[in-house]
């Protein structure tokens, strides 16, 4: 196929997946939040043991990012559409277990898409690491205060694009998060606060950075449209790796819902092979 034919065929296939209403995104985002919120009274009232609630809270934080990510790309509704309010509601609310402001996530994520793997302009380049264990270690090291904490690099990027105003969201989220932990701790619920929010948040952020950012981009050097991410077979499967086996599909066509990227990949595969994309492991 010629270059023009490849491009046309790729667009035709991608468009097939663009018009579906992704009902699973609001259900997932809001349902996950409700489960996490319900853990608090269930634990406080001794209905659910803390040792069961803790892993559930970890899963809640791990799972809270993707619905917001879908909202960032207007998957539920784009600006001006009737359900745009729902799109933004899901974006804001689903990130609460992670104590991450949606506006910061949205603006910095668009910069990631514009400058994938760029050493200065990609806000997620901080996850660049030598290997999987180094990536996990780096996730904890990079969020230390010496580099500006969890939002390291994001402040720099927001200032660069003239949107340092949204850093206010970050400050308010942090103050609220810490104030909630302090209040719980001094009312006799420090262990509950640590195991329902503080520790799950740290574990969840490491998990999200590992699968969402490090794994699909490693070694995060190439910057071309078809090689800035790779297709890979995850040892833990596609669902447990946040659907990131097919992350390049998202970079190529960000309007395709996450749950449709495996199908889109299978249909697009001949084109992707012709484009010289990276494949690691058997994804058939």
């Amino acid at each position: 196929m010629t270059e023009a034919e490849l491009r046309k065929r790729e667009r035709m296939i991608a468009r097939k997946y663009a018009d579906r209403f992704p009902w699973e995104v609001p259900v997932w985002g809001l349902g996950n939040l409700l489960i996490w919120l319900s853990l608090w009274p269930l634990v406080f009232l001794n209905i659910l043991p803390l040792w069961i609630a803790f892993p559930i809270a970890c899963v809640n934080v791990m799972a809270c990012f993707l619905p917001a990510h879908e909202a960032v790309h207007g998957m539920i509704a784009r600006p001006g559409q009737k359900l745009r309010w729902l799109n933004e509601l899901v974006g804001h609310l689903s990130l609460l277990p992670m104590a991450m402001p949606y506006r910061i996530q949205k603006l910095t994520h668009f910069e990631h898409h514009k400058h994938v793997n760029h050493p200065e302009h990609d806000p997620d380049i901080t996850t660049q690491s030598r290997g999987p264990w180094h990536a996990i270690w780096q996730s904890f090291v990079q969020r230390q205060r010496g580099k500006g904490g969890v939002l390291r690099g994001y402040g720099y990027i927001l200032e660069k694009i003239g949107r340092s105003d949204v850093l206010v969201d970050g400050a308010l989220y942090q103050l609220t998060f810490f104030a909630a932990l302090f209040a719980l701790a001094w009312n006799g619920y420090a262990i509950e606060a640590a195991l329902l929010w503080w520790a799950p948040r740290h574990i969840g952020i490491a998990y999200i950075q590992f699968f969402f950012s490090w794994a699909p981009h490693h070694p995060a050097v190439k910057r071309g449209r078809y090689d800035n991410a790779k297709f890979f077979k995850s040892r833990v499967g596609n669902i447990a790796s946040m659907g990131m086996q097919y992350h390049l599909i998202h970079h190529l066509h960000p309007f395709i819902p996450l749950t449709d990227t495996p199908k889109a990949f299978r249909e697009l595969r001949p084109i992707l092979e012709a484009r010289g994309c990276r494949f690691e492991g058997d994804l058939s």
């Binding site: 904890f140 230390q144 205060r145 580099k147 810490f178 932990l181 701790a185 420090a190």
Partner: protein, 71 residues
């Protein structure tokens, strides 16, 4: 607004120390209580928790890292 901004900036600046005392302090105390420790080192669990948590917070503040390693 400048006063609010000043307050927010300073609060976040000193957050490791605040976190060490206000969260780790009672957290360590409640863990010791849960383990059934009575007056460890002759101190109340809260006092010891505040000493350990607060010291860690102060170290994290000056070191710029809770885990010693810095980026």
């Amino acid at each position: 607004m400048p006063i609010v901004e000043f307050f927010v900036r300073k609060t976040l600046h000193f957050m490791p120390i605040l976190f060490g005392f206000l969260f780790f302090g009672p957290l360590f105390a409640q863990i010791m209580d849960g383990l059934g420790w009575k007056e460890p080192l002759g101190l109340s669990t809260l006092t010891l928790g505040l000493i350990v948590g607060g010291t860690w917070g102060i170290l994290a503040f000056f070191r710029g890292s809770w885990i010693w390693a810095r980026p």
